[in-house]
């Protein structure tokens, strides 16, 4: 009698596993763990030359001579200047991986000198942008960087990429 109860519980867990596995990852669970640590649920694609994958394969926006795309001239941005770069990186939604035909993505900057916008620059930007990405769609995100009264030097900052199922409200 006790054994039967345990078996019932085991079946319940197995069903959950199947739903989870089919919705997110068709392949084996080991890949799952790797993909998650890599942020692989949604695709974040660096678009050269102003961003590239760092040593861990993570997107890095890099406007310095350390970028692999640094052509030998134009080392960075100057003091008191504003630069707008369209299409610095792309965010994609593959429904077979996310399980959603629409996902809502939010990108927020921890640094007021870096703002983001979607698609072509029309004069507006924000430290935090939210947009919907449909199935198989790839949305290009641009960056507006204003050095204001920063002094000469190197600046490392972070920005956050968040996503959830369903269109943005």
């Amino acid at each position: 009698m006790r054994t039967v109860l345990k078996l019932g519980a085991g079946v319940g867990i197995m069903l959950l596993l199947l739903i989870g596995a089919r919705g997110l990852y068709p392949s084996d669970p080991l890949t799952v763990v790797y993909a998650v640590s890599n942020g692989g649920n949604i695709s974040i694609t660096p678009i050269p030359p102003y961003s590239h994958p760092d040593d861990n394969g993570f997107l890095m926006v890099d406007i310095s001579p350390e970028s692999p795309f640094y052509p030998g001239e134009g080392k960075g941005l100057s003091v008191n200047s504003t630069y707008v770069f369209e299409g610095v990186f792309g965010i994609g939604n593959n429904q077979s991986e996310t399980g959603f035909s629409d996902i809502c993505v939010r990108i927020s900057s921890a640094d007021p000198s870096v703002g983001f916008f979607v698609g072509n620059f029309n004069g507006t930007w924000s430290e935090s942008v939210e947009f919907t990405v449909g199935d198989s769609e790839n949305v290009e995100v641009g960056a507006r960087i204003s050095t204001g009264d920063l002094s000469l030097g190197d600046y490392w900052e972070e920005f956050t990429v968040e996503a959830w199922g369903g269109a943005c409200r």
Partner: protein, 206 residues
């Protein structure tokens, strides 16, 4: 048999935890990514401004300054006071006289060192075109919105534009008109640039 079942269930539960964990990760997906931006001097940036004449220099803050006064570190009297001061200890050659006009070809260079190999349109605007205007003897410059080419002192204007191919540079010449009275005058020069195929201004047109 019982033992095997228990072991299998343990495995299942671990696997389930993985799957559930990952599905929760997507529902609340969050990742930190980094940016690295080098703030550099005006003469080393993507669209760089390089002093060509001694009247222009890069200051301690990394910004291009055009300075026709004894405050300019390139004023020869700083290193060699002999002959650069008059009997009353006034600095010589330290500025422009009232109601005079001076022309300087190629005071500073603007160049296109963007990494994306695109032509750009550059616009240079003076905050006071009556005091500072721009020209290029090589006739590569246009007045913004017209096809007029400011190429000398008489044609210099305060709002000019030009196209730069990747790696190309253009020297900006300056026409200075001093005011009627002695004193210091500050004029701000604004440099803007856009990709040539997507610029809000037209530059020439043939």
């Amino acid at each position: 048999m019982k033992k095997l079942l228990a072991l299998g269930m343990l495995g299942l539960m671990i696997a389930a935890a993985f799957a559930l964990g990952t599905s929760a990760t997507f529902r609340d997906y969050r990742a930190q990514r980094s940016s690295h931006i080098a703030v550099v001097t005006d003469d080393a940036e993507l669209i760089d401004l390089t002093p060509v004449q001694p009247y222009a220099y890069i200051n301690d803050g990394g910004q291009l300054v055009i300075d026709f006064s004894e405050n300019n570190p390139n004023w020869p009297g700083h290193n060699n006071p002999e002959g650069w001061y008059d009997d009353e200890k006034n600095p010589l050659g330290s500025g422009l006289s009232p109601q005079s006009r001076y022309n300087f070809d190629h005071v500073f260079n603007v160049s296109n060192h963007l990494w994306d190999n695109k032509d750009i349109i550059v616009r240079v605007t003076s905050s006071d075109s009556g005091k500072v205007a721009f020209y290029d003897p090589g006739k590569n410059m246009r007045e913004v919105g017209t096809s007029v080419k400011p190429y000398n002192s008489d044609t210099a204007v305060g709002d000019v534009c030009f196209v730069l191919a990747p790696g190309q540079a253009l020297g900006v010449g300056m026409e200075l008109a001093a005011g009627n009275t002695l004193g210091d005058y500050d004029v701000t020069i604004t440099v803007q640039a856009w990709p040539a195929d997507n610029a809000p201004i037209t530059c020439g047109g043939g």
